[in-house]
């Protein structure tokens, strides 16, 4: 401890520059002050990089979404760029042409933002609420299943199949979501089924 202090004072006494920064201590305070003055009017821009999964297919490539603004800080984040995630073991930074065009997918003017419904006989889609849409889907699925579910085949064997309704689920899911999706589809007898859990 004593030795330490004596060395500290030795260096303190023999060196002229005592400042809180390397630049100041070496006598470059003028340059440092110029830079401080130069940068003062500038602001800090907030951006985020977010890990995500490409929603297109069941390969589930990793992507990084670059956006301006940080939602967690109360900003309104806007997607600026999307690229393959090099750290992701599936695609190691690569993307197929569809994945590479993901930003256009996000910003597409024709992007579906809420449930739309084309009534029988109608020639146009109309907006409907989520509740309405889910109720209607459930109703139609139930009716179709009641009408077409096959518990046994012609030989009398248990088959429990429902072939008249298919299900296509997204790829951007976790292992657990994929498991639950699979359980749901198979437990009601759906045969025509595709999602990430298949791979």
């Amino acid at each position: 401890m004593n030795m330490d202090l004596s060395r500290r004072s030795f260096l303190k006494l023999t060196g002229a520059g005592v400042a809180a920064t390397s630049m100041g201590a070496l006598g470059f305070s003028e340059a440092e002050a110029a830079e401080i003055a130069h940068v003062r009017p500038f602001k800090l821009a907030t951006t985020t990089e977010t890990r995500q999964t490409c929603p297109y297919c069941s390969v589930a490539c990793g992507i990084i979404i670059y956006s301006k603004g940080d939602v967690r800080k109360g900003d309104n984040a806007e997607v600026m760029h999307i690229e393959g995630d090099v750290d992701h073991p599936t695609n190691r930074g690569t993307l197929c042409p569809k994945g590479a065009a993901l930003k256009d997918f996000v910003k597409s003017p024709t992007r579906l933002l809420y449930p739309m419904h084309r009534k029988p006989g109608s020639d146009k889609f109309e907006r409907m609420s989520w509740d309405e849409a889910l109720d209607r889907i459930a109703r139609l699925m139930k009716d179709d299943r009641d009408a077409n579910f096959l518990a046994k085949n012609e030989k009398g064997l248990d088959v429990n199949r429902w072939t008249t309704t298919g299900m296509l689920a997204a790829s951007a899911t976790s292992n657990e979501t994929a498991w639950a999706t699979f359980k749901f589809a198979k437990s009601i007898g759906i045969v025509g089924f595709d999602n990430q859990a298949r791979v």
Binding site: L11, T48, I64, R72
Partner: protein
């Protein structure tokens, strides 16, 4: 992995291989390129006098690398033991006791006299040159523990620069493939702290992020969007000095809400001329603005203490 292994290797698909864990320094090139980068940056910066001074320091570092006799590589037994215990093979506390290290420091201090520098820097150099072996050993210890005493930052800068020469030469003798991750934000070669990190554009590792050791210049892979100080992947954001026209900056501060620290990230894949130490100093503006925020700087750079 042996050739006959039945382990599936998805990297074979499409020839996209896994990025190398460590990129070892090439000291002869490293310091020469750093000196050139400092000179280029000095042409347009408010910090020109300091950048020119550091260019001179890097030139001396480059000269020493080309002049000094090759170092004895780290003993294979020690490297193997280190690997087994997930420890860095270079023992920095043993390194600073070696004769080669002391010789490098003395030689560096002699050469530094020829540099053009302010009176304060010259006086500090004189003090370090007249210091006895014990004091130099004490300073070396401060340098390798990445904690420079605030009242003698100028003095320690010279010792730190000389240490970089020796550590980079020593790291260059290591086999990068034999290195193993030690811990987040700890150099797998020497246990040093990173100055910052770079997203590189080198073929075979495009877009991968590498942390850059402030001591031995080894670069090691750390996944993107992760705090280099605490390893958290939650609450990571980015700040950059706003550019007119909304262009994205190539040097950003990676902030972490888990430990409230930040470290610099340089997008070399967008600007291949970026050099981690030189551009860290020249982007002081970012440090100045970050000082106003709640985040503390985690990156260690002996040429940029105090931010």
């Amino acid at each position: 992995m042996s050739v006959s292994s039945l382990q599936p290797d998805p990297s074979m698909i499409g020839g996209i291989s896994k990025v190398p864990f460590a990129l070892m320094p090439h000291p002869a090139r490293l310091f020469k390129e750093r000196a050139t980068r400092f000179e280029v940056l000095a042409e347009t910066s408010n910090l020109a006098p300091y950048l020119k001074f550091l260019a001179g320091i890097a030139r001396i570092q480059a000269d020493l690398v080309s002049e000094l006799a090759p170092l004895e590589p780290i003993e294979t037994g020690q490297a193997a033991r280190a690997r087994e215990g997930a420890m860095p093979p270079i023992d920095r506390s043993a390194m600073i006791l070696s004769d080669d290290y002391r010789k490098t420091v003395r030689l560096f201090l002699d050469r530094a006299q020829a540099l053009e520098m302010p009176a304060a820097a010259a006086e500090a150099l004189k003090a370090v040159r007249s210091a006895d072996d014990d004091t130099l050993a004490w300073m070396a210890e401060n340098v390798i523990t990445d904690s420079l005493p605030v009242e003698s930052l100028a003095h320690h800068l010279y010792v730190a620069a000389a240490t970089q020469v020796h550590a980079a030469r020593l790291a260059a003798t290591l086999d990068g493939k034999a290195l193993v991750p030690v811990s987040v934000g700890v150099c797998p070669s020497c246990g040093g702290k990173p100055a910052g990190s770079m997203v590189i554009g080198v073929q075979g590792a495009e877009g991968a992020r590498y942390a850059c050791c402030s001591c031995c210049a080894t670069m090691w892979n750390e996944v993107r969007v992760k705090c280099l100080a605490c390893g958290s992947t939650k609450g990571v954001g980015y700040r950059a000095v706003e550019i007119d026209g909304g262009e994205d900056s190539v040097i950003k501060a990676e902030t972490c809400d888990s430990c409230n620290s930040w470290s610099k990230i340089l997008y070399q894949n967008k600007n291949p001329t970026l050099e981690v130490i030189a551009d860290d100093v020249s982007s002081l503006g970012l440090d100045i603005l970050m000082k106003e925020t709640d985040y503390r700087r985690a990156g260690f750079n002996p040429f940029l203490i105090g931010y």
